[in-house]
């Protein structure tokens, strides 16, 4: 089966000439469909940069990247936006919900950009809220929710367009241990249901819940020690 992610020689250079910073220096990475991978590494290792490129938020300086079988490294901003909308679901550490829109509207937003009809948006958003376990919060504003609930909304939003890949950047970083664990349980559930998930974290205990750990060090993947 085609891997969900396949990169070859992915590099990213910030700045130019004298002040150039090599954030990624040739990443070779493959993630199989349905895999649950933890991306770990200390801050400054390049894992956020890799995450941005994998999430199509940024373009690599060189190298190739195929997401769900589609080469994306040369695409325009508009095409990337469409891929993000269609194939990727983001979950951020700071939730990044729109504060002035209700929970329901937040979850509907990716479907709005995808051109889904109003009726269907509503139905699907309610269904997703049910799935993350907070169907009763549809009408409230994010400010009225606890951190864990907000992250559930963010997860529901990330699932809105049935993405090929879920990308979570420190999803439990702002939560206490108990709620953090509940959120992780949700990811494990989603994985069981067949979703491909990449979770970025610096917490090894969280990484341990994934099937596989990929460690980034100085812009390169650190080869796993023989287990």
């Amino acid at each position: 089966m085609q891997p969900i992610i396949e990169t070859h020689g992915l590099t990213k250079v910030f700045g130019s000439n004298g002040a150039a910073v090599h954030a990624l220096r040739g990443i070779e990475m493959t993630v199989a469909r349905g895999e649950f991978v933890a991306l770990i590494g200390p801050s400054g290792s390049g894992k956020s940069t890799l995450m941005a490129i994998l999430g199509c938020l940024d373009k690599p300086t060189a190298g190739t990247y195929a997401l769900d079988g589609e080469r994306v490294e040369g695409l325009s901003g508009r095409e990337l936006a469409q891929i993000r909308n269609d194939k990727i679901g983001f979950v951020f550490q700071q939730y990044n919900l729109l504060p002035k829109a209700s929970v329901l509207r937040n979850v509907e937003l990716p479907m709005l950009y995808a051109g889904v009809s109003r009726k269907e948006r509503r139905a699907r958003a309610l269904e997703l809220l049910e799935r993350v376990g907070i169907p009763e919060k549809a009408k409230v504003l994010p400010a009225a929710l606890s951190g864990g609930q907000r992250q559930r909304v963010a997860i529901a939003r990330s699932l809105a367009n049935g993405p090929a890949l879920l990308l979570a950047d420190e999803p439990t970083g702002a939560l206490d241990q108990k709620t953090g664990h509940e959120v992780l349980e949700l990811f494990v559930d989603l994985h069981r249901q067949g979703n491909s998930i990449i979770i970025v974290t610096h917490d090894l205990s969280i990484a341990a819940m994934a099937q596989r750990q990929v460690e980034i060090m100085d812009g390169l993947i650190k080869l796993p020690e023989a287990a």
Partner: protein, 415 residues
């Protein structure tokens, strides 16, 4: 637009505006003032124009062509032809009507004299107005008591008079003028009619600019010719044609000029005055005020527009993260651009409505203070609104474009 994205954008913009009321108010201030001053300015000059139109209508209408005598000898001695010329005569009026009798809706003759006027109560030197044809109607007079002159009165030079209210109060202060006799010069004439009082104040509280019209003492032109300023050629001071059809006027005026010239031994000793054309020309000079008002509206819209861009750019900083989130979940730059534009245009729209309301209030206050009725043309509403819309659109472009060009990664990381 049809899946509700447009609706959603409008809704979000509305929420954004409401939640940042102070900022939104400041942003729309330029639009409000601009629209108010354009509308206010326009409606004040519209009101003035409307008022002067009323004045002309009350003076007997704009659909008139006056023919007056005019000196043909500019300098030196007159030529034999000029000496022999007879001037403006009753015959000119008759021949004028024959040009296009279907277009001519009325003819008035006027021949003035000055004479001593006496009654039991007063004895004054007064202007006497000899009138013929439909003079009273064409000059905006109406009979209050008694009757108008008949054809017979004019043909036979009957010794009858019609008085204005001032003349009545001077010569017959007891109010029993009708049927009484007035001596004009040596001629006793009978008062057969009394005119309605004529009043027109351009602004409230001003003098009645029609007051001298109430001084009229009218008698038939033929009586003036026979007893005061008479000659065998039936000369008159003024001939007026009423032409109701606007498009017939120019043609008639040209033909009349030819006929009169032929009639006057090729001497241009007459002057044609197309009242409607003259008034329209005078009024178009008032357009300079419109331009001034438009300009001041323009300037405040530009000022407001620049303030708007500034505020928008400043708030963009606060909203970079939000833009980043939207981009991350798949909003293309185009969508971000549309969202910012929607917000700016909604602001302009609401601002213009407030501006229109203020503009109406503003012109109400001004017209009330100068004492003329308020008249607002629908055209002024539309042009003030369109002007604001255009400015709102143009000044919204830059911040919206800036927002749409943000890199999603940098926008997301922005603190």
């Amino acid at each position: 637009m049809f899946n509700g994205a447009f609706r959603e954008r409008v809704r979000n913009s509305w929420v954004e505006m409401r939640e940042n009321l102070t900022r939104s108010t400041l942003q729309s201030l330029g639009v409000i003032l601009g629209v108010a001053s354009v509308l206010g300015g326009f409606s004040i000059s519209d009101s003035m124009r409307k008022r002067s139109m009323e004045l002309y209508v009350r003076m007997g209408g704009l659909d008139k062509l006056n023919v007056r005598q005019s000196a043909v000898v500019k300098e030196g001695a007159p030529t034999a032809l000029q000496m022999a010329n007879l001037g403006l005569r009753t015959a000119d009026a008759d021949e004028g009507e024959e040009i296009d009798s279907s277009s001519v809706d009325g003819i008035a003759l006027r021949k003035d004299a000055r004479a001593r006027v006496r009654s039991t109560y007063a004895d004054q030197e007064r202007d006497i107005r000899g009138v013929g044809g439909d003079f009273l109607a064409l000059d905006g007079y109406e009979i209050d008591q008694g009757r108008d002159f008949t054809m017979h009165d004019i043909d036979a030079a009957a010794p009858v008079a019609i008085l204005g209210t001032e003349a009545v109060s001077v010569f017959f202060p007891n109010g029993d003028a009708l049927g009484r006799t007035l001596r004009i010069g040596d001629t006793p004439v009978q008062v057969v009619g009394i005119l309605k009082e004529r009043v027109f104040r351009f602004r409230d509280g001003q003098r009645n600019i029609f007051r001298w019209r109430n001084r009229i003492i009218a008698i038939p032109t033929t009586l003036v010719a026979r007893r005061f300023e008479g000659d065998q050629y039936h000369r008159v001071d003024r001939v007026t044609f009423r032409i109701r059809k606007l498009d017939a006027m120019a043609k008639f005026s040209k033909a009349l000029s030819g006929v009169l010239k032929a009639n006057h031994r090729q001497q241009e000793d007459f002057r044609l005055d197309d009242v409607g054309a003259r008034v329209r020309k005078e009024q178009s000079q008032g357009n300079v005020y419109d331009i001034i008002f438009l300009l001041s509206g323009f300037l405040s819209l530009i000022g407001g527009g620049i303030v708007n861009v500034n505020i928008q750019m400043a708030t963009l900083k606060e909203r970079i993260r939000e833009v980043g989130v939207k981009m991350a979940i798949g909003a293309p730059g185009r969508e971000v651009f549309k969202e910012f534009m929607t917000e700016a245009l909604l602001l302009t729209g609401v601002g213009s409505i407030v501006g229109l309301i203020i503009g109406v209030g503003f012109s109400k206050i001004i017209t009330a203070s100068i004492g003329i009725p308020l008249h607002i043309d629908a055209k002024s509403f539309v042009s003030a609104y369109l002007l604001a819309a255009v400015f709102g659109f143009v000044f919204a472009l830059f911040p919206a474009w800036k927002a749409s060009r943000l890199s999603p990664m940098e926008a997301l990381r922005y603190e």
